[in-house]
Amino acid sequence: MIFRKLALASLGAALGATVAFADTTIRVLHVNDNTAAVDLWNKIARDFEAQNKGVKVDIQYLENEAFKAKLPTLLQSEERPSIIYSWGGGVMRAQAKAGFLDDITAEAAPWANTLSATAAKAFQVDGKTVGIPFETGEVGFFYNKKLMDKAGVKAEDIKSWDDFLAAVKKIKAAGITPLVVGAGEKWPIHFYYSYLVMRIGGASALADAAAGKNGGFKGAPFVEAGVRLRELAALEPFQAGYIGTTHTQAEGMFGDGKGAMELMGEWLLDSQASNAADGKGQPIDNIGLLSFPLVPGGKGVATDILGGINGWLVTKNAPKEATAFLKFFSQDKYQRQVAAKGYYIPVVSGTETAIQNPVVKQIANQLAASTYHQNFFDQDLGPSVGRVVNDISAAVAAGEMKPEAAAAAIQDAWDQQ
């Protein structure tokens, strides 16, 4: 009988009754696959636990694609994590509107001024703070210096779209894959479409379209961006089978030296190494960064930057300590370490001076001098429209969809949501 009771009790535990190890557990869910950075996060968590008895911080990783697919259902669960990773934008606004986020304005106000103002603003919805940013970044063409030299292409000279197309042809003629892209997951190729829209329609093209100006998403910038993307793809600049490649595979290819350039965010510096066959990838002094070229006649300028501002959102009914942990996390001493190690570019003001890595430094300088910082289109537009932009980017590049139809598809999704 006792045995049976024991068996039942352990069964109950196995079936997921929450077992309290500590009085409060803060569960943090993220997608960062830079293990060194996550090690530091865990160290911060242990420090926090040491100072706050009875509080446990549990940092959990979910693979990027799985995270995005899971999040809509995850948030509906009673056991949602206390803190979730976020790219801000429309996805975050939709979550706030649905009532899944906590308003932490009051708790964050006393120390919010330690963060970059632009970044802090990116995590407000209707003037209320719902999250704390920790990282900012830039999408650009990272290139392999040796391969560019071998093809006889000078990256510094690529200013316009035509320069870029010429360079692509030259690299291809030298027997090198000009561009690697993980179009299997679609968002990597939507960076091309996004930048083209920004370069053609100007920095605020997306916001304008969302507001219904200039013909909305059916307007000229969105159609022409498709035409240009197809123009590039028609040169067959991507690796074989790019339509099925995942972003990690593509990053690994760049690390293996199998492609001259990749349009990607700053995390590529780490992931090209961790996903390379030898686990080392390209040394940092062989990697250069090229801004997305200007499109002739377009309204955009080279200092309009596409990139993420990533942060943490505090979910509904999270323990009070969650916000306290984020304050602890955002301390200068930790974020300076992040900067010094080059894991990412922190948004705590003043920490950027600690950056050593030359490429990361270049990104930080460009961000500081930027005229506009546009969030990733797929995040900014919200969950359902964002996915459509990703879908059409891949389809247009492959010639599966006409640019006009692609632009109309975005507008349709926008109207339907």
Binding site: P72, A94, A98, G184, A240, G241, I243, G244, A394, A398
Partner: protein
């Protein structure tokens, strides 16, 4: 399913007091569980399908038949529907004859027949996800077996799953690979219960192998063939697990089935109303088929 509901009344009896108690204790648990998790969700799918709802709060934004209307002419959905029919066609035109042919051989007293049966049945016991991943490796352009073969003859590596013209054919190969063994087993079971004397008598009468197959084996295997068709169609309509690891529905939504379409466009985007409409359409296909099958195929069983 088509078995008689009213036959063998002789063992059924009017419940006395104890009988009623039995009914009251034995029936409700199953009834309750079934109602909550099968009947109600299906009814609710019909209800939700008239709303534009993201699952938060209650459904309030009534949009009538709009969800259904947007399915008509929707490129990705039409493709998914077409794919479901392609799977059925391949199951009937390729898988079924293959399974039958193999069954005819392995049910003879041939060397290693039992071992062969087990080998052919093996893929069936693997989960679809595992089979899908194994074949994703087989088809991988950089590391896979198919590219390994093309490079042996000096050709370029091929990326079948990234090629919209080939990706779904590649999926179909995996389906046949995984399921023909199950259908073979059905036929083996059918062949074992055949009356051998009939075949021998025919042989003595001078009927050749083809004649014996056409006029005796095939007709007697009728029930098994019908069953095999039934499982091919039902399996095709609910295929999902294999699509996710193989292609994720891509490239360009050319390899979705109705269920994977429902998952990628309904669940991961939390469009509950729209996804429910897809579910209702799928439900109608399933029920129409099941009832039609009963009516036309099971008449004489």
């Amino acid at each position: 399913m088509a078995t008689t509901l009213a036959s063998s009344v002789e063992t059924s009896r009017r419940p006395g007091g104890r009988g009623w108690l039995t009914i009251l204790i034995f029936l409700p648990p199953a009834l309750l569980l079934f109602t909550i998790f099968v009947a109600m969700p299906m009814g609710e799918a019909a209800w939700y399908s008239f709303y534009n709802w993201n699952g938060y709060g209650r459904p309030e934004n009534f949009i009538g038949l709009k969800n259904y209307a947007s399915l008509i002419g929707n490129h990705a959905f039409t493709q998914a529907l077409l794919n479901n029919f392609l799977i059925i066609a391949v199951s009937l035109a390729i898988q079924l004859p293959l399974a039958l042919g193999v069954a005819l051989i392995v049910s003879k007293k041939i060397r290693g027949a039992v071992a062969f049966r087990m080998i052919f049945f093996l893929p069936y016991i693997l989960a679809d996800v595992a089979a899908g991943l194994i074949w994703r490796f087989v088809y991988d352009g950089d590391y896979g077996l198919v590219s390994g073969m093309t490079s042996l003859i000096g050709a370029q590596p091929v990326f079948l799953l990234a090629d919209k013209n080939w990706a779904f054919s590649a999926v179909l190969v995996v389906i046949v690979w995984k399921y023909f063994g199950f259908h073979m087993m059905l036929y083996v079971a059918g062949l074992q219960s055949l009356d051998k004397a009939l075949l021998e008598a025919a042989e003595i009468d001078g009927a050749n192998a083809v004649q014996r197959f056409r006029h005796i084996t095939l007709p007697l295997l009728g029930p098994m063939i019908r069953l095999s068709i039934f499982f091919s169609v039902v399996g095709a309509l609910q295929l999902f697990d294999m699509i996710v690891p193989l292609t994720g529905g891509g490239p360009f939504d050319t390899t979705n089935t109705m269920v994977s379409y429902l998952y990628f466009f309904g669940i991961t985007r939390m469009r509950v109303g729209f996804g429910s409409a897809v579910g209702v359409v799928l439900f109608l296909f399933c029920v129409t088929f099941a009832l039609g099958y009963r009516r036309f195929f099971m008449r004489d069983d």
